[in-house]
């Protein structure tokens, strides 16, 4: 656990907002505040959420073959889609808001 160094901030807190069918997994919970190690990524966040809410969140979001994000799922970090950032490797900062959307459409 390299990040437990004396005098350094050991963890970050991110706010996760869950929408649409993701709420079925969380039992209706809309916002989850998650503590993560510094330099954590979206992938780490999904792992952490799966500890809280079970494997289903991984099944929905990750392609089992490639391990990448499944098509049409949109995860936004402070309003920016991670597909245009570093995808699952997108680094999170303390205080970030991450929004999880399953495939949605309309007009």
């Amino acid at each position: 656990m390299f990040f437990f160094k004396k005098g350094l901030k050991v963890s970050i807190t991110v706010k996760v907002k869950l929408f649409a069918t993701f709420r079925e997994i969380t039992g209706g919970q809309r916002i989850v505040v998650v503590k993560l190690p510094r330099k954590a990524t979206i992938k780490n966040l999904i792992e952490e959420l799966s500890k809280l809410f079970g494997q289903e969140i991984k099944d929905i979001t990750l392609d089992p073959k490639t391990g990448n994000l499944k098509s049409f799922n949109n995860f936004l970090v402070n309003g920016h889609n991670i597909k245009l950032l570093q995808e699952l490797r997108t680094r999170l900062d303390n205080g970030d808001t991450v929004a999880f959307f399953p495939p949605v459409g309309g007009g």
């Binding site: 907002k17 929408f19 649409a20 069918t21 709420r23 809309r30 098509s71 049409f72 949109n74 936004l76 402070n78 309003g79 920016h80 889609n81 597909k83 245009l84 929004a99 959307f101 399953p102 495939p103 949605v104 459409g105 309309g106 007009g107």
Partner: protein, 590 residues
């Protein structure tokens, strides 16, 4: 003919003459929107008053209407809009469109004006113009019920409410009680003509050229629709209103007349909230495997909606967080025959004008009671509602603040702030019918990642995307299918349907060329009316004032750069006029 019936009904209300004509231009313009535009371009004199006997109102179907092709239950109304002065086509789902095909017509051209209110009763080949004195004044629901009783229990009704009767410029045509050909004020054209309703009962069918080929492409399409998470899960279970939260998180949910891009109370008036609280059922249009329609119930009554756009128009746009009031405003629009987008947008505009001291009357953001009251006043042209009934552009101009009207070419903008998505901004600016999100739905690639995600903040490459979407949607709206089918289907599927249904060979490329032809003819119509480059613009707010907070904070639109590229890709000169060579290529030169 296959697919097409081959016959168009022409009704001259001035003389009462009804005639049947052979369908022309079908191969080159398909039907629906394309057909309507072609007829109006040829038949209307330039610069006529849309609310005069010279304007015509076309109800059109397409070759796949009334077949089993998924989402083929639509029709459109085409006219010169009294709200925008542009060519205008307004679309609706439900069951009315297929019924007209079953009665044996591809479309109806309505001309002239009756001396007294009438409705048209079509029972297959029998067409009557009937007195409507006793239904004039009724809302769309009572009108529908009465006319079904008076004609045939299986008849389908498209009608106007009190708003259309009073020629409210943001009035709609409502069919099947809850479906609206909403945009562009075409209800006012019907009202001017004193045509209360068109009631149809058809017992025929649509002949398909190659049943085997049709079954093949039908099965193939259904697999794609069933496999796509948006058409198979998102739209059926959560409806269009599921977009509220994602657009809000992107910081593009227009709030308090587009002054902000994040609505603090979005959750309470979101698709998720509707599902939890007022949703009692779902409804699909004819031949639709998606079924995005919402049946809802408030403490007062049951109705349909609100859909995404309506939900926004009466909530974030007006700063209202009361779902019951928003839903009630929606029900009222359906009953009174108003376009929900333009109505909510115009009320939001009045609220900002009041906030900034341009109005004597106090109309405050967040006032749910006032919102519902204003919807009624607009429909009946009462009090301040009389001025509001002319839409935001005329209203804001009259009070000396045209910059506060969030519109393009006079049509009120819908529920996406263009500052957060450059391509969508270009789509708004170049739309042939004004401020509309469905001429080219760049929200797909820019926000939702369909078909693939592109960077919404960059203007590069957007002109080409907008052009392609515009051409494709022109085709979809001429066949006619619901544009929601395009989340799953592609030009390949559309071409296969066209070929199987009509027996004429179409490729995806052929269809895109037809789409381009339709787009250019609409452009020529508008140019003839005096529209030009300066009208391909956006309210100054979007070009100069950055969004204050949220996911699109500090963004504005880089319009000029994209517009130049767009004109060049379109084969238009720098005034936005199609070059002779382009018109020759598309078979549009005279």
């Amino acid at each position: 003919m296959y697919g097409w019936i081959g016959e168009i009904l022409r009704v001259d209300l001035t003389s009462g003459k009804v005639s049947i004509e052979e369908l022309k231009f079908a191969k080159k313009f398909i039907g629906g929107r394309g057909l309507g535009v072609k007829i109006l371009y040829d038949e209307l004199e330039p610069k006529i008053d849309p609310l005069s006997t010279e304007n015509k109102l076309i109800f059109a179907t397409g070759p796949v209407t009334g077949t089993r092709a998924p989402t083929s239950g639509r029709y459109c109304v085409v006219s010169k809009s009294p709200l925008t002065g542009t060519i205008f086509d307004s679309h609706s789902g439900g069951f009315w469109g297929p019924e007209l095909k079953f009665a044996g017509y591809d479309g109806i051209i309505i001309e002239g004006r009756m001396k007294k209110p009438v409705y048209i009763w079509i029972a297959d080949k029998q067409v009557e113009i009937r007195d409507a004195s006793d239904i004039w004044g009724l809302d769309t629901h009572k009108t529908t019920e009465k006319l079904v009783k008076e004609t045939d229990p299986k008849a389908k009704v498209a009608c106007i409410g009190p708003a259309g009767e009073r020629q409210v410029l943001i009035s709609a045509i409502i069919n099947d009680k809850h479906r609206a050909a909403g945009r562009g004020g075409l209800g006012a054209v019907m009202g001017y003509k004193r045509l209360k309703a068109i009631v149809v009962r058809g017992t025929g069918k649509v002949d398909i050229a190659n049943e085997e080929e049709f079954d093949e492409i039908y099965d193939e399409s259904m697999v794609v629709i069933r496999k796509h998470p948006i058409t198979d899960k998102s739209l059926p279970t959560l409806g269009t209103a599921v977009l509220v939260n994602i657009v809000n998180e992107y910081g593009m949910y227009p709030t308090r007349n587009f002054q902000e891009g994040v609505f603090e109370d979005a959750e309470g008036v979101s698709g998720e909230k509707i599902t939890e609280t007022i949703l009692v059922g779902r409804r699909a249009c004819y031949a639709c495997p998606i079924g995005c329609g919402r049946i809802t119930k408030t403490s007062k009554k049951e109705g349909e909606g609100p859909e995404y756009e309506t939900l926004w128009a009466f909530s974030a746009q007006c700063g209202v967080n009361n779902l019951e009031a928003v839903t009630h405003a929606n029900y009222l629009c359906n009953e009174l025959g108003l376009d929900t987008i333009s109505t909510g947008n115009t009320i939001g505009c009045a609220m900002e004008m009041s906030q900034k001291g341009f109005l004597k009357e106090k109309i405050e953001f967040g006032d749910a009671e006032k919102l519902v009251e204003l919807v009624e006043k607009i429909a009946f042209k009462e009090g301040v509602g009389k001025e509001l009934s002319e839409g935001s552009k005329r209203f804001a101009e009259k009070h000396g603040c045209p910059e506060l009207a969030m519109q393009v070419k006079g049509l009120e903008l819908p529920a996406y702030d263009p500052r957060g998505a450059q391509g969508h901004a270009l789509a708004y600016a170049t739309s042939n019918r004004g401020g509309c999100h469905l001429r080219a739905y760049l929200i797909g690639p820019e926000l939702l990642g369909t078909p693939a995600l592109v960077d919404r903040t960059k203007p590069e490459g957007k002109a080409d995307l907008v052009r392609n979407f515009q051409n494709l949607f022109s085709v979809i709206e001429s066949m006619i299918l619901c544009v929601f089918s395009s989340f799953a289907l592609s030009p390949y599927h559309y071409a296969k349907f066209m070929t199987a249904v009509t027996g004429l060979e179409y490729t995806g490329k052929d269809l895109m060329t037809i789409g381009e032809r339709i787009w250019n003819l609409e452009r020529l119509f508008n140019i003839r009316e005096g529209f030009g480059r300066s009208d391909d613009s956006l309210p100054p707010r979007f070009l100069k004032t950055p969004l204050p907070e949220g996911g699109s904070r500090e963004r504005t639109v880089f319009l000029e750069k994209m517009l130049e590229e767009y004109y060049s890709l379109r084969g238009w000169d720098d005034r936005g006029i199609p070059l002779k060579s382009k018109l020759e290529e598309l078979g549009l030169s005279r």
